[in-house]
Every structure is written in structure tokens, then in C-alpha cells.
């Protein structure tokens, strides 16, 4: 970006792990060159009244490419990510074919190179995500893959999961788990409880998630492997993770915006826009997830951005696929719903996930000498969610029509403003 000359982000309040201060930020050659008051440069991005933070990092994006490009592509997903303030996303491996080999990982990373957001690949734990045979983790780790997951499904077999964790610990990588015991929730389409009973929809009990969280904590103890729990959704899961962290195990966890804002009561409309895995749960679970984010038990807010075409969400509830959009609403939902200090919100959205996928060197900081991956947030502006207006190829947001506070004004990727005044630049 050197041909663009120097850039100043002017008049904002800089927030990162180091603290908060009113300061301008100078960007030269893709790096942060200076942070301080009264700076100027060739170009100016106005940040008056705004927060200047490190770019957000999503640990859980379904970008659908290769295989389901009608729902999303790496380019469209990355554009939505940039509009949502993200400068890095971790692509989930449940593509077609699955990201279970160096070839597919290389393809995703290659396509991601031209995207308006850094795209990192996760790798599958098992071949084809079938839960039967270990995928070539070393070969993918050699390409830079730092997180392995069969997301969309949990690894069901206890013995296989143990071997996967042992093998992964030798590679220094982290396993991430979608915790659902298939035998307990097979055939279910929403949280099992008061509403599923009334609506006549087969349920997925909270215990289906909790059993796998419990097992993987035990296996983390046995193997010493780092384990990251994806989209925690129940009060008892949060409590188990809290205890595991306190006992010194290498355990981390994420929660999604929908799991800290919506309950299973939404399903009474029978609109599959509210169908997701793990399912929307009770008000008590929502409160526990929020408490887990507040006390740091849940280190990360991740989107589980899961685009689906309109036709598939016009099927009956039990036939429609699970999943919701998330990249363009996550920050505003966190700011609107959590009631946490801005620094804590940005920690959960930026530097803590950056550490977990090992990109802390390029993401998650507004310090001199670091890569200029930044987002500028207007924390007070209110706006109304509209799925049709999103950059995603799909429109399946469960927050349609909801008024939110806080919006991304600019996003800077390696020094290049990819979003200016809420408009994607490419």
C-alpha cells in the first residue's frame, strides 16, 4: 500500500489491550507508524466521536466455498466481515469437499488472498468430517493451520477424540469442538424443553452438549492438548468450562451473539430462521452465557456465520438447515446487549481470538510497528438490521428489523481502507 502514501485515522479514541487513550493513528506501508495526538498524513480518515480498535477476528465463519457458492463465497463472506469490522476470519471446514487435506486448505487460502479480510483456514479433525479416521493434520499444520475442528458435528467416538488430541498436542495446534452428542440429540431440531414439547418439534437436550464438554475436559486433562469449545450454549457448559480453567487446563471457549440474545421461545413462529446448532436455549442459559462473557470464562465472541439460501429457509422447520448470518451484526449485538466496557467487548472480538488462532502478531493490537488491521466504530449510532442489505449472498439473519446501537464506520486491512463510512471499497 506504499503507493497510497501515509494515512491518518484522526480524532478517535484508541482502545486495545493496552488501554484507552484519545489519539490519532498513522499508517505507513501497511504498518502502524505512530499513535499519538495531533498527527497528520497524506490521507485522513475521520474518526471523530469514534472508537479506534484493532480489527475484529472471527473464529467461526462458514464461508461455503468450495461447494455452496449460491449461499456464500469467500469474497462475499469476507466483504460482509469487513463491513462488520473484521480483519480476519477463520473459515470452518464443512465445505464440499471438506477442508481435510492440504489441497483444499491451499485452495481456500489462495482464494482468500484477494479478499477484503484475512481468511485463515481451519482443518478437519477427521477425513470428510466423518468421525472415523484422522485427517492429515501435520500436512495442514505445515500450511499454517492452527485450529482443527469437524464443526457442524462433534467427534463422537471417545477413543478417536483422545487420539486426535494426543496427535494434535505434538503439532502444537488446538482442537475446537462443536459439542453435541448425536445419540442424544439425533433427530432434534430445537432445544428440548417447554417449547419443543408444545410445538411438537423433536428436541436436542442441553445434556447432549454438556456430555461432550465434560468428555473433552476429561480428555484435555488426559492428553494435555489445548481444546477450544465452540458456541457454548448452556449454563452447565459454562460452569464446567469455568471450573476447568480454574483447575489450570488448557481450555478456552466462545459464544455466539445469538446465544446471548435469543431464546427457544423464538421457535414458536416455526420460522427456520431461528433454527441453529446448538439450538437457541432458555433465558437462564442466555443469562449464564452473558455471565460467562462478563467474567471471562468465555473468552471469545464468535459469529458461527452460517449463510443459507432463501429456498432452504422456506422449508418446514424440521427440514430446513440450521444456521444464521452473524458477521455484520456481531459487534452491534455485543455493544447493545452485553452491557460490558468497550475494552472487554473488543477483547472478546479481537485480541483474545487472535491469540487462540495464533495471529496475535498481525491482528488484535493498535501498537506502533504492528500490522495496520483496524476498525473504527461509531458506538452511539443506531441502525436497523436488514438481511437484504447485507453483503452476504444470503439474508438469513434472525435479527431482521431489530434496532442496534454501534456500527462500523471504517475498516483498515494491512493499511488499506477496505470500508470507508460504512461502504465496502472492494
Amino acid at each position: 500500500m506504499s503507493e497510497a502514501g501515509s494515512l491518518v485515522i484522526k480524532g478517535g479514541r484508541v482502545v486495545d489491550a493496552a488501554g484507552e487513550r484519545d489519539a490519532d493513528v498513522i499508517v505507513v506501508d501497511g504498518l502502524i507508524a505512530a499513535v499519538g495526538p495531533g498527527l497528520s498524513a497524506d490521507r485522513t480518515l475521520d474518526a471523530g466521536g469514534c472508537i479506534v480498535g484493532p480489527g475484529l477476528v472471527d473464529l467461526h465463519s462458514h464461508l461455503r466455498e468450495p461447494g455452496k457458492e449460491e449461499a456464500e463465497t469467500i469474497a462475499s463472506g469476507a466483504r460482509g466481515a469487513a463491513l462488520g469490522g473484521y480483519t480476519a476470519v477463520l473459515a470452518m471446514p464443512n465445505t464440499t469437499p471438506a477442508m481435510d487435506s492440504a489441497a483444499v486448505v491451499r485452495q481456500v487460502v489462495e482464494i482468500g488472498r484477494t479478499a477484503p479480510c484475512d481468511v485463515y483456514a481451519s482443518g478437519a479433525i477427521t477425513v470428510g468430517r466423518n468421525g472415523e479416521q484422522l485427517a492429515p493434520m501435520a500436512e495442514m499444520a505445515a500450511l499454517g493451520v492452527r485450529i482443527f475442528t469437524d464443526d457442524g458435528a462433534g467427534v463422537q467416538d471417545n477413543g478417536l477424540m483422545r487420539r486426535a488430541m494426543e496427535y494434535a498436542s505434538g503439532l502444537g495446534v488446538t482442537l475446537a469442538q462443536h459439542c453435541e452428542d448425536d445419540a442424544l440429540c439425533g433427530g432434534g431440531h430445537m432445544h428440548e424443553g417447554e417449547w419443543s414439547a408444545r410445538l411438537g418439534i423433536p428436541g436436542q437436550p442441553a445434556e447432549a452438549e454438556e456430555l461432550m464438554v465434560m468428555r473433552d475436559i476429561a480428555l484435555a486433562r488426559l492428553t494435555g492438548c489445548r481444546i477450544h469449545f465452540q458456541h457454548l450454549s448452556t449454563a452447565r457448559s459454562v460452569e464446567m468450562v469455568r471450573t476447568a480453567i480454574a483447575s489450570g487446563l488448557a481450555v478456552s471457549a466462545e459464544a455466539t451473539p445469538h446465544h446471548f440474545t435469543l431464546t427457544h421461545a423464538e421457535c414458536q413462529s416455526y420460522d427456520p430462521i431461528f433454527k441453529v446448532n446448538p439450538p437457541l436455549r432458555t433465558a437462564q442459559d442466555v443469562a449464564a452465557v452473558k455471565a460467562g462473557l462478563a467474567d471471562g470464562t468465555i473468552a471469545v465472541i464468535a459469529t458461527d456465520h452460517a449463510p443459507h439460501t432463501p429456498e432452504t429457509k422456506e422449508l418446514p422447520f424440521d427440514q430446513a438447515p440450521p444456521g444464521m448470518l452473524g458477521l455484520e451484526t456481531a459487534l452491534a449485538l455485543a455493544l447493545t446487549e452485553l452491557g460490558l466496557p468497550i475494552q472487554q467487548v473488543l477483547g472478546a472480538l479481537s485480541w483474545r481470538p487472535a491469540e487462540i488462532i495464533g495471529v496475535g502478531g498481525t491482528h488484535g493490537s493498535v501498537a506502533v510497528g504492528r500490522a495496520a488491521n483496524l476498525c473504527v466504530i461509531d458506538p452511539e449510532v443506531t441502525w436497523t438490521v436488514d438481511g437484504a442489505a447485507m453483503a452476504s449472498r444470503s439474508a438469513n439473519t434472525p435479527f431482521q428489523g431489530r434496532e442496534l446501537r454501534g456500527k462500523v464506520r471504517h475498516t483498515v486491512l494491512h493499511g488499506e481502507p477496505v470500508v470507508i463510512d460504512g461502504q465496502a471499497q472492494r
Partner: protein
């Protein structure tokens, strides 16, 4: 009432009473030499049956014809409707043909509710998955009132596979709305995962419940429940929860036996029990047509100057 998707759409006891009064009138129509009134002349009612149910479809079809409505059939076998097709596309296609009411049967809970959000036509739920079957509940109430006069303070046991039963769900809401007390009798594996907010009591002891009820309502026991490990065997189910020849003796003399059909004789109900004078099973089938006439008339007949024949006083409807 714009649609009839569940019992709640009827508006409680008052709304159900209105359907009962209309049903009285249409029972009278059904007994005429030419059982037909012009109440819905010029209206078109379509069947959208994603699930085979000759009984329910015939009942609705007869009801519509007796009201002089035109009918169209979009049943799975006779159209392009199939699993995996967007509900919205199907609903829109049907509505483009100028349909006034769509009667929907679907194996998925909530399918009629989704269709109702996309069309101007009235939607009648003729059974959706495990969820509801509101016209069945209405005909059950009508049938019981013919014998009991009123459901106020009456005790009804619903026995069997409550968990997977749309009939049970609708009956629970409808019976209790009319003032009846409901006891669910089933093994825990065949109960819904939560009964929070359900105005019912639960028992696993059919013998002790039977002597206290005004009516016992048996649900169809489906064979596939065996493969899902919900029951050890049909034999054990019958031994514990079937209305056997011995067990029927525990009923009071004035207690009635009901079943939504089709029956598994010898499983949930002994072959002979279904044919006892205390069995209302054929009355249920018979009343289905008049109840469905009342529902279609309520949804489509408003504004029509074709007032149905005067209702007989409701308190005198006891046979």
C-alpha cells in the same frame, strides 16, 4: 378467526361454543334427504395433503361439498408437491388459482403456520407433525357433549403415545378450555419432554385412573416406537396401557371410550372393546363432517347472507 392452525385460534370456550352451535345446525343439514346448503357457493377449498390420510381428507371434502364449495386436490400423489419443495412456492402456486381456503396436512410441525404467513387464503390445519389437529379436538368435544351435556368438571384420561400425538396436544388444550380435567396416562418415554404450562395431571397407573373418568381416550400406538427404544415390546405396552377386556370393567357404567382412529385392535384397544355400546368411535367419525362444515363456514361464510338453519338449543343436544 382468520386461520385455524391450533386450538388457541378458536378463542377459548366462547369460540368453541360457537363452533358447537354451528355444528348442531350442520348435523341437522346432514340428516336431510339432500344434505347440502349453498353457504359457500362460489368459494374454492383446496387440499394440500403432504401426508396420506384418506379419512381426514374425505371428511373435509364431504364437508366442503355439503356447503356447495368447489374443491381442488393438491395431494402429494396428484401434483408436483414433494418433500424438499419450498412450502412458499407451493402455497403461492395454489393461491394464484384463486383459492379461498387451504386445508393442510403435513408431517412437519408448523408447516400450516408457515403457509399462513405467505397467503391471503384461510388456512386450516388438518394435522401437522406432532403438533396439533384442531378439527379432531372439535369433533371430540362435540361427540362428548352429545353424551355428557357439558365438559365442565368432567374427567378425561388420554392414554398412550402423547409425545408424538397431535391429537393429544389439541385435545389437552380444547378439553381443558371447556372446563374438563385431563389426566395423561403413558410411560415416561411417551410423554413430552416437558409438561410445564400444561393444565394436566400425569399417571402411569391406568387401572386406578379408569375408575375416576367420564371418558377414556386411547391414542394409536405406532409400531415404529419399538425401534426407537421407547418401549420394550408392544405386548408389554398392551399389558400396562392397553384397554383390555379385563380393564374396561374398571370403568364406571356411564364412562365412554374414544379413539381418533385408525385403531390397532389388540394393541391399545382390545378388539371387542372398540365395539362396545360405550364406544364413541363411530360417532367421532360421523361428527367430523359437521364440525368441519362449521369450521369452513366460520372461516369463509362471514358476510354471506345465507344464514344456516336455526340452531337447536345447545342444552338439548344431549342424545
Amino acid at each position: 378467526m382468520r386461520h385455524l392452525l391450533g386450538v388457541a385460534d378458536l378463542g377459548g370456550a366462547e369460540g368453541i361454543e360457537e363452533v358447537m352451535r354451528l355444528t348442531d345446525s350442520f348435523v341437522e343439514v346432514s340428516e336431510r334427504a339432500i344434505p347440502r346448503v349453498p353457504a359457500l357457493r362460489g368459494k374454492t377449498v383446496a387440499w394440500l395433503f403432504y401426508e396420506d390420510s384418506t379419512r381426514t381428507r374425505l371428511s373435509f371434502e364431504t364437508a366442503a361439498k355439503r356447503l356447495s364449495a368447489d374443491t381442488m386436490n393438491f395431494s402429494v400423489s396428484s401434483s408436483s408437491v414433494k418433500k424438499g419443495e419450498s412450502l412458499r412456492d407451493t402455497a403461492r402456486t395454489i393461491e394464484a388459482m384463486g383459492i379461498d381456503a387451504i386445508v393442510v396436512r403435513h408431517a412437519s410441525a408448523g408447516a400450516p403456520h408457515r403457509i399462513a404467513t405467505w397467503v391471503d387464503a384461510a388456512v386450516v390445519n388438518a394435522g401437522d407433525g406432532w403438533h396439533e389437529h384442531p378439527t379432531q379436538a372439535l369433533l371430540d368435544i362435540y361427540t362428548l357433549r352429545q353424551r355428557l351435556g357439558s365438559l365442565e368438571g368432567r374427567h378425561i384420561a388420554i392414554v398412550g403415545d402423547i409425545k408424538h400425538s397431535r391429537v393429544a396436544r389439541s385435545d389437552v388444550w380444547a378439553f381443558t378450555a371447556m372446563g374438563a380435567r385431563v389426566t395423561l396416562v403413558a410411560p415416561p418415554t411417551l410423554l413430552p419432554p416437558s409438561l410445564e404450562g400444561w393444565p394436566v395431571t400425569v399417571s402411569q397407573d391406568l387401572d386406578s385412573v379408569l375408575s375416576t373418568v367420564d371418558a377414556v381416550y386411547l391414542l394409536r400406538m405406532q409400531h415404529e416406537r419399538m425401534t426407537e427404544a421407547l418401549l420394550p415390546s408392544l405386548r408389554e405396552y398392551t399389558a400396562c396401557f392397553g384397554l383390555t377386556n379385563q380393564r374396561v370393567e374398571l370403568l364406571r357404567d356411564d364412562a365412554w371410550v374414544m379413539h381418533p382412529g385408525p385403531m390397532n385392535r389388540g394393541v391399545e384397544i382390545a378388539a371387542d372393546v372398540a365395539d362396545l355400546p360405550r364406544s364413541l368411535i363411530l360417532d367421532q367419525v360421523r361428527n367430523g363432517v359437521a364440525v368441519r362444515m362449521a369450521v369452513l363456514y366460520l372461516l369463509l361464510g362471514a358476510g354471506s347472507d345465507l344464514v344456516p338453519p336455526p340452531a337447536t338449543p345447545k342444552e338439548d343436544s344431549v342424545v
